[in-house]
């Protein structure tokens, strides 16, 4: 388990965190290769089922990275995403999966550093938790 | 004189109240009743007050009749449907109970069995109408009774309703209660006499005796609790301060109650003293108020 490398799905907003990821790339800032970015027009588009599907299909962690509060291109998308993330966390608790596997982050397009930092933070956290219970039983 | 005679005589009425407790121990309550026996025209017996499960009103009312006290049997629509209410009234009559106070009742969530099924098949108004029907020899379904009661029915009104809507609705409902046969009204506790006077001016044309409620203040804390939690009761700040500042709470409590009783003498037809366990103080209150 020492060399466990988690797979982490990131729902990334076109206007901020996706641009931040771009910037991180341009600035040659390293971040863990564990994350898989799914670009969305707004985190408000991420539904409960999207997050659940990511977990079911093998992600050890999922996070939604939206704009800083108050700066959503669609006004409230990131607030909606935050509530849905909380709802999914509650659902996961109900079936004994650690809710901490699902997180919400906020960042601006200019925060390439933050994007990398969050990717590292989440990767470390999920590494500590170990593989998703769904992945454990199948292996 | 029984309560009906006192009411009809037009004298200033004094009623008190006992709340049976949780369990079969009635001795101290009977003792308390004995203390006030000669000073009151009737004693109300509450019906599972605050929706807390207790000894029943009918049984305790009956015990009072045995002592020569005329009870006012309080009956709420909270726990019984029309079958049980009518049957209990007939039972009460054969046990010597002659006066009924019809109430809607607190919601069960207010008490110690909050998930009990609320009944409210009849409310205070329809309860009064039903009593009238029983008195006339018929049940609610129109069936003839073999032997009819002849209850004196009363009702309650809350003069301290705290919004315009609440007050107007109280008065409309009061009129409905009178039309349904209420022969007297007892009120929620009165502390703000000016407010009460305004209420009395609104309803004096209805020509039905009103017995103003008086609750003995036991402490400033109790006053604050009632202000916060008891609908229609408001103890003004100066009274709370008097209770805080006094060294002798019992003496002060009697003093305050007596001064309220004195003022009520000019405003309504009686006082209903709710002593909440301090029944021993009632004679002193009445003495100080010159009754």
């Amino acid at each position: 388990m020492d060399n466990f490398e988690p797979l982490i799905a990131v729902f990334s907003c076109h206007y901020c965190s996706y641009a931040a990821a771009d910037l991180a790339g341009s600035l040659r800032i390293q971040y863990p290769p564990n994350i898989r970015i799914i670009k969305v027009p707004c985190t408000g588009r991420v539904s409960v089922n999207h997050i659940l599907m990511a977990i079911e299909s093998g992600s050890d962690g999922v996070y939604v990275a939206g704009c800083l509060k108050g700066t959503c291109h669609f006004i409230r998308g990131n607030y909606k995403a935050e509530k849905r993330v909380q709802y999914v966390r509650d659902l996961l608790s109900e079936i004994n999966i650690e809710p901490e596997r699902v997180q919400m982050y906020f960042m601006s397009a200019a925060e390439g550093n933050k994007f990398a930092e969050v990717a590292r933070e989440m990767t470390e956290a999920v590494k500590k938790m170990g593989p998703s219970p769904l992945n454990k039983s199948s292996s | 004189m029984n309560f009906r005679e006192s009411l009809e005589s037009g004298k200033f009425l004094v009623t008190a109240e006992v709340g049976p407790g949780k369990g079969t121990d009635v001795e101290h309550l009977l003792k308390d009743a004995d203390i006030i026996k000669d000073r009151v025209d009737a004693v109300n017996v509450t019906d599972l007050q605050s929706s807390v499960m207790r000894l029943g009103s009918m049984a305790f009312s009956h015990l009072l009749t045995d002592m020569g006290i005329d009870p006012i049997f309080q009956m709420t629509g909270r726990d019984r449907n029309r079958l049980a209410l009518q049957s209990d009234l007939l039972s009460a009559w054969v046990l010597g109970i002659r006066n009924v106070l019809a109430l809607t009742g607190d919601h069960p969530t207010m008490g110690d069995h909050p998930h009990a099924k609320p009944v409210f098949d009849l409310d205070s108004v329809s309860l009064l109408e039903m009593i009238g029907k029983l008195n006339s020899g018929y049940d609610m379904a129109g069936n003839e009774l073999k032997g009819a009661p002849d209850f004196l029915a009363g009702a309650v009104v809350n003069p301290g309703a705290d919004t315009e809507a609440a007050l107007e609705l109280q008065i409309i409902k009061m009129k409905k209660k009178i039309a349904a046969g209420a022969k007297f009204f007892q009120t929620q506790a009165v502390y703000d006499i000016d407010l009460f006077e305004k209420f009395i001016r609104r309803v004096e044309g209805l020509k039905v005796p009103i017995i103003g409620g008086v609750i003995l203040l036991k402490s400033a804390g109790m006053a604050r609790f009632m202000n916060k939690n008891v609908a229609g009761v408001f103890v003004p700040m100066p009274l709370i301060k008097e209770m805080t500042d006094t060294k002798d709470k019992v003496k002060k409590s009697i003093e305050i109650a007596a001064s309220i009783v004195k003022r009520l003498k000019d405003l309504c037809q009686g006082v209903h003293i709710m002593a909440l366990g301090w029944e021993k103080m009632i004679p002193a209150v009445l003495d100080q108020a010159d009754i």
Partner: protein, 223 residues
């Protein structure tokens, strides 16, 4: 519309414990609108069931479908027949009526409820519903300015409020306005306060279970 909420997962999982092939059957009526048992929620619940079984290392097959209206036999039949023999149990995401309609139509099929049906209500805003109608069978809204005291007064009082309201709120909950005070304001606004002075009423409660028959709509036998 009927308002319902999903049961706790623990309860649902215990009910389906013994079954491997589960038809999760949503309804596109009320429970879709209140986001409790429509196609989206069918997907969510199915996913949760699969994830639970996977953790336990137990097999499960979830079939997902929704009826147009699960309280209507015509809408249940095609959906269930389409998937006949592919499932062991129907886990309904409809209201209590929907569950019973399936059970009645398929008496040899075990049907389980995954929702708790709360009440007939109004959407106050997205995500907030309040109870509005008790389906008492004798509507008096015409006299109460469209505010139902049978439902919205905690004591279902018909002849005016009790004395328990405080600052316009019901004695049962500070979040709940006194229905009678609301009726008062509404009638005042409509200039119809005299409606409050009608003669007292006693509610004659309906006998349950109810049954409504419309002869004009029933099938006719040609003779």
């Amino acid at each position: 519309m009927l308002i319902a909420e999903r049961k706790p997962m623990e309860e649902i999982l215990e009910m389906i414990e013994d079954f491997e092939r589960i038809l999760v059957l949503g309804c596109k009526g009320c429970v879709t609108v209140c986001c409790a048992g429509g196609p989206r929620e069918v997907k969510t619940l199915s996913t949760l069931i699969r994830m639970d079984r996977k953790q336990k290392g137990r097999k499960v097959i979830t079939l997902e479908d929704s009826t147009e209206l699960q309280c209507e036999p015509e809408s249940i039949k095609p959906v269930l027949e389409k998937m006949a023999n592919q499932y062991d149990v129907v886990l309904s995401m409809a209201c209590g009526a929907g569950v019973q309609a399936v059970a009645k139509l398929f008496p040899d099929q075990l049907v389980l409820p995954s929702l708790n049906t709360n009440f007939t209500g109004i959407a106050e805003e997205h995500g907030v519903w309040t109870e509005a109608c008790l389906a008492c069978g004798d509507c008096i809204l015409g006299r109460t300015a469209g505010i139902c005291p049978v439902t919205r007064c905690a004591k279902s009082l018909l002849n005016g409020p009790c004395g328990g309201a405080s600052e316009g709120k019901c004695e049962v909950s500070k979040d709940q306005p006194c229905a009678w005070q609301e009726i008062y304001h509404a009638l005042k606004r409509l200039n119809m306060l005299h409606y409050l002075k009608q003669k007292p009423q006693v509610k004659d409660w309906p006998v349950h279970p109810g049954r409504v028959v419309r002869e004009d709509l029933r099938e006719v036998e040609a003779t």
